[in-house]
Amino acid sequence: MSFHPNDVARRARMSSMALAIGFVLLVGAFFKTQVVQYKQFVMQSEENRLRPIPLPAPRGIIYDRHGEVIAENLPAYSVSITAPSVDSLRSALAQLAPTLQLGQSDINNAIRRYRRAPTRPTVVLADASIDIVSVLEEHRLDFPRLIIQSVPKRYYPDGPSVASFVGYTGEITESDLNDPKYASYKPGQQIGKAGLEKQYEAILHGKEGVRFDEVDARGRPVRGEGPRPDLNPEGAPPLYTNIDLDLQKFTVELFADSLQGGAVAIDPNTGEVLALYSAPSWDPNKFTGGIPVEYYKQLLEDKRRPLVNKAIQGTYPPGSTFKLATSIIALQNGVVGVKEHMPVPCSGGYQFGNRYFRCWEKKGHGSLDLEGAIKHSCDVYFYQLGLKIGLAKFIAGGITLSMRDRSGIDLPEESQARWPYAVDYYNKKYGPRGWSNAETLNLAIGQGANSQTVVNMAKLYSAFATKGQAPRPEIAHLVPQRKQVFNLTSVQDSVVLEGLKAVLEAGGTAGASAIQGLTLAGKTGTAQNTGGDDHGWFVGFAPADKPKIVVAVLLEFGLHGSRAAHIASAIIGHYLKVGPIKATMDEG
C-alpha cells in the first residue's frame, strides 16, 4: 500500500478538487433553476395551486323609455367540473349523471366544452334547480372538483310580450366560437342569440371576473384566505330603449291569441320605435339556458309560425298602402297635377291591352282627382298614374323611397324588402318578351314584384308624416339617422295628407277606425296572397297635422285592412291618450 504522506496529500488535493467541482456544478445548476429560470417556475407553481374560476358578469339590464324593466338578471346556480383529462371528466359525469339527471346529450355537450377549453371549469348544468344544488352540497366532499356557483340568469318579466324585439340569450355555439367576432368568448358562456340581446351583445355582455381557488395536488380546494384577490366581474351598463312598454303590452293585448301578424309603432320625428310585436309570440324565458326540445318542437310545428318575426322578417305585398308611394313618385316626376283627373274614369275596372284590371270597388268611383283617389283607394286611377310615370321611372322612384332596402332597424334579423332593381329585372325573370307593361299596373297598386316588411312600411309612412324625412327606426337610442327621400311642394303635400286623412273619415276605406277628436292619416291595404286568404294592412300616423306616432300593422289572412286599421288606431289612441275607439268593425 502506498500510503506515503506525499501520495496521500496528492490524492487529498485531487479529491478536494473533485469535491469542489461537484459543489460548483450543483450550485450552478441551482442558480440556473432558481435565479435564471425563476419566472418560468413561479408561473408553473402558481398554475399548479391556483384554480381560476370564472365569475360570469351580469348582462346589462334593458329598460324601456320610462325606466320599466324589459330584461333583467335573476340569481341561478350553475354546476361545473374541473378535470385534468377527458377520461376523468367522463368518469365524473358518469358518477354525477343520476344526481344531476344528465342525458347523453348533456354529457356530450360537457365533453365538447371541455375539449374547447380544458383549463376552464366545464359547465355541466347552466341552470341547476335548487333540489339538485342541495343534494350536491351534501356530497360536496365526494366531488372535490365540482363547482357550484351562483350565476346571473336572464329574465324577461314580460316574456312573450317583448320577445319580438328583445330576442333571447343562450350558450355560445361551436360555430360562434369559430367566428372572429367572438374571439374572446369561451365555451359555456351565455350570449345574445337574437333581437336586442344579439344586436347589442358587445354592450350587454359585461366583463367576466375570476376567483382564484387554492387547490391541492388532488384538486381539492383548500380552506383559508383567498390566495389572490378576486377580479370582480364587471356588469354591463344598462341599455335604454325607446320602447314604450305600456304601449307594447297594449299592442300585445290587441292581437290577443287569435290574430297573427306584426305591428310597429314609430315616432316619425326621431325614428324611435315605440312598440314592435309579432303575433303569435314565444316565451324567451324558456329559451334561456338551453331551449327545451319539446317547446321548440311545438313552436316549429305551429302553423302560425311564431318563430318568424312578422314585423321585421315577414315580407308582404304592401297593397293599397303603397298607393301613397305611387302618388309621391308621380308628383316627384311631375307627371300629374294635384287636381288632375285621369283620362279614364273608374267604372269598376280598367281595360289594358287584352286584360281587364279590376278596381276593388265593383261599382266604380267615377272620375277622381289625386286626393279622392287616395281617399277611396281607387285602383283604376292608380293604374293610369303608374302608366303615366312609366316603369323605369317608377322603379327608380321606389328605390329612392328605400323600397329595396332594409329599414335599418337595430335588430339583426330584419329581412330585405323586395322591389325590382331596374326594368332589367323583368327581362331577367321572364325574358325580354315574356312580360308586358301590365307589371306597371301591378306595381302601381302595391302588388307584383313588391313585398315589404312591416317596419319598412312604418319607415315609409314616417317619411310621409315628416315631409320626406325617412328616419332609421331605432329601438335603442344611439345615433339617429334621417334621409330625405322626397321633396314635395306644400300644395302637393297637403293634397296627399288630406287624402290620407279622408281615408279614416266616413266614406274612406277605414272610416270605422277613426278616433273621436283626433285627425288620423293612414291607408289600408290588401296584400294578395296566393297561398290563402289575403293579408290586411294598415299604415298611418296621427295627429295628421303634427304627427307623433306612425303605426304599421299587418294581419296575416286579415282579408282587408279595416281590421288592421282598427288595431292601429287603437294603438295610436292609447299612445296619444284620447278617447276610446269605436267598437264597430267595418269589413268594407
Binding site: 502506498s2 433553476t33 432558481q34 425563476y38 407553481s45 391541492d216 395536488a217
Partner: protein
C-alpha cells in the same frame, strides 16, 4: 496517556451537527401541509434518532480505532446476514413498494439493513485494502476488495435497490483510488459498466471501445486480463438491451423519465417536474420556512425523504441551498483532511470511504431533485427522514471523530 477531550474534532462535529439541525428543521417543515398527513409528526422521531445517533457517536468517539478494526469483521458478517434476511422477509416502502429493502416484523418496518451495511462495508473494505502489502496493480489483485463489496452489492441488487447499489460502487472506486490504485486500472474495472450504459447507441459504444482498446495497449495489463476485459465489454454492450427487459417496470420508468421527464408528466415524470417547479419557484430567497406551496398542497412527492432537498429549495431559495451545500462541502473537505492526517492506512481508508459514501448520496440525491440524476430513492444524509440512516450517519460521525482524534495534528498527537 493524556485525558481525552470531550470533542476531538470541533469542526467535524459542527458541520455534522449543523447539517442535522438543518435537516430536522426541514423534516418538520415537510410535515406542514394543508391537508395534515402522518408526516406532520415524524420530525419528533427524527429528533429521537438524532439523539440516539449522537449517543452512539459519543461512545464510539471514546473507544479506539483498534477496537473498531477488531469489530469490523463480525459487524460486516452480521450486516450481510441482515441483508440476506431482507430477501426472505423484506418489505417495500413508498415508491418502491415491490422491493424488499426493509426488515420488518409483520407489517411493522424496523429498519433498512443496507444503511448499516454502507458503514460496515466501508470498514471491511478498509481492513482488506489496508492488509494488502502491495497496491493492486492488476485486476486479479482486486479479487478480495471486489468480493467485500460484491456480496452485499449483489444482495442489494436482488432486493432490488438501484440507489444503494450505486452508492456501493461509488464507495468501491473511491476507496481503491485512495488506496493508490492507478486510475487507468480503475477505468478498466469500470469499463464493462460504461459499455452497458453506452450500449443504447452503437456509435457511442464503438467510440468507447476504441478508447478502451488504446487504454489497454497503453496500460498493458496481463494478456488474459486484457482479453477478458474486451470480451466483457463486448458482452455487456450486446446484452444490455436484454438486461433492460429484465428491469422491473418502475426501474425502467425511472430511467426513462431521467432521460425525458415530460414523456410521462402525470406518473413517473411527475416527481421530477414538481420537484423542479418547487425549487425553481423558490427563487433567491425562497417562499419562507414552512411556506412552500408545492409542498403544502402536496404537489411535491416524498417531501420528507427523497425530495426533502426540494423543500429546502422551495422554502429557503437559492440562499438556503447554497448554505446547505456549503455545509456539506465543509464537512467533506474536513473529512478528507482527517483521512489525509490519519495515523494508519485503515483509519485513512475508513475516513475517505465514509466521506465518499456521503458524497455519492448528496450528488445523486440533490442531482435527482433537479433531474440531473435518475430517481433512485437515495436519501440525503442528515436531511432525509429515516431512523436507520440517521443512526448509521452518526455512527460514522463517531468513527470519524475517533480517527480524527488519533490522527496527526489532533489533540492526541503532535502538531505538524
Amino acid at each position: 496517556m493524556m485525558s481525552r477531550p470531550i470533542v476531538s474534532d470541533v469542526r467535524l462535529l459542527a458541520a455534522a451537527g449543523l447539517l442535522s439541525l438543518f435537516g430536522v428543521a426541514m423534516v418538520y417543515s415537510a410535515g406542514q401541509t394543508d391537508t395534515p398527513t402522518a408526516v406532520a409528526t415524524v420530525y419528533k422521531s427524527q429528533i429521537l434518532w438524532l439523539v440516539i445517533g449522537m449517543g452512539f457517536a459519543y461512545a464510539i468517539g471514546h473507544s479506539s480505532v483498534r477496537f473498531i478494526e477488531w469489530m469490523t469483521t463480525p459487524l460486516y458478517l452480521f450486516s450481510i446476514f441482515l441483508l440476506g434476511l431482507t430477501l426472505v422477509v423484506g418489505k417495500g416502502a413508498g415508491t418502491a413498494a415491490s422491493t424488499k429493502s426493509w426488515l420488518a416484523i409483520g407489517s411493522h418496518r424496523i429498519g433498512q439493513p443496507s444503511e448499516i451495511a454502507k458503514v460496515t462495508v466501508v470498514l471491511m473494505l478498509a481492513k482488506v485494502l489496508a492488509n494488502q502489502r502491495e497496491t493492486p496493480k492488476s485486476l486479479l489483485d482486486l479479487w478480495k476488495p471486489a468480493l467485500v463489496v460484491g456480496v452485499p452489492w449483489l444482495i442489494i441488487m436482488l432486493q432490488p435497490d438501484l440507489g444503494t447499489g450505486i452508492v456501493f460502487i461509488g464507495i468501491f472506486f473511491a476507496m481503491l483510488y485512495w488506496a493508490g490504485v492507478a486510475w487507468p486500472l480503475l477505468i478498466l474495472i469500470a469499463s464493462p459498466a460504461i459499455s452497458l450504459i453506452l450500449s443504447f447507441s452503437v456509435g457511442l459504444w464503438g467510440a468507447w471501445f476504441f478508447i478502451l482498446l488504446a487504454l489497454v495497449l497503453w496500460y498493458r495489463p496481463y494478456l488474459i486480463e486484457g482479453i477478458v476485459l474486451m470480451v466483457l465489454n463486448v458482452a455487456t454492450g450486446v446484452i444490455a438491451p436484454m438486461m433492460w427487459e429484465k428491469l422491473a417496470p418502475y426501474q425502467q420508468n425511472r430511467l426513462k423519465v431521467f432521460i425525458d421527464p415530460s414523456a410521462d408528466p402525470r406518473a413517473s415524470g411527475y416527481h421530477v417536474i414538481q420537484s423542479k417547479v418547487a425549487i425553481g419557484s423558490g427563487g433567491f430567497f425562497g417562499k419562507g420556512f414552512t411556506e412552500g406551496t408545492q409542498k403544502r398542497l402536496a404537489f411535491l412527492p416524498e417531501q420528507h425523504t427523497d425530495f426533502i432537498f426540494s423543500v429546502v429549495g422551495e422554502e429557503l431559495g437559492f440562499l438556503g441551498v447554497t448554505i446547505a451545500l456549503t455545509l456539506f462541502l465543509w464537512l467533506f473537505l474536513r473529512i478528507t483532511k482527517i483521512a489525509e492526517r490519519a495515523n494508519d492506512s485503515f483509519s485513512s481508508l475508513v475516513a475517505f470511504g465514509l466521506m465518499s459514501s456521503w458524497f455519492v448520496h448528496v450528488l445523486v440525491n440533490v442531482g435527482m431533485t433537479l433531474n440531473l440524476m435518475p430517481i433512485t430513492g437515495i436519501p440525503l444524509p442528515f436531511f432525509s427522514y429515516g431512523g436507520s440512516f440517521m443512526l448509521a450517519s452518526w455512527l460514522a460521525v463517531g468513527i470519524l471523530m475517533r480517527i480524527s482524534g488519533e490522527g496527526r495534528g489532533s489533540g492526541l498527537s503532535l502538531r505538524r
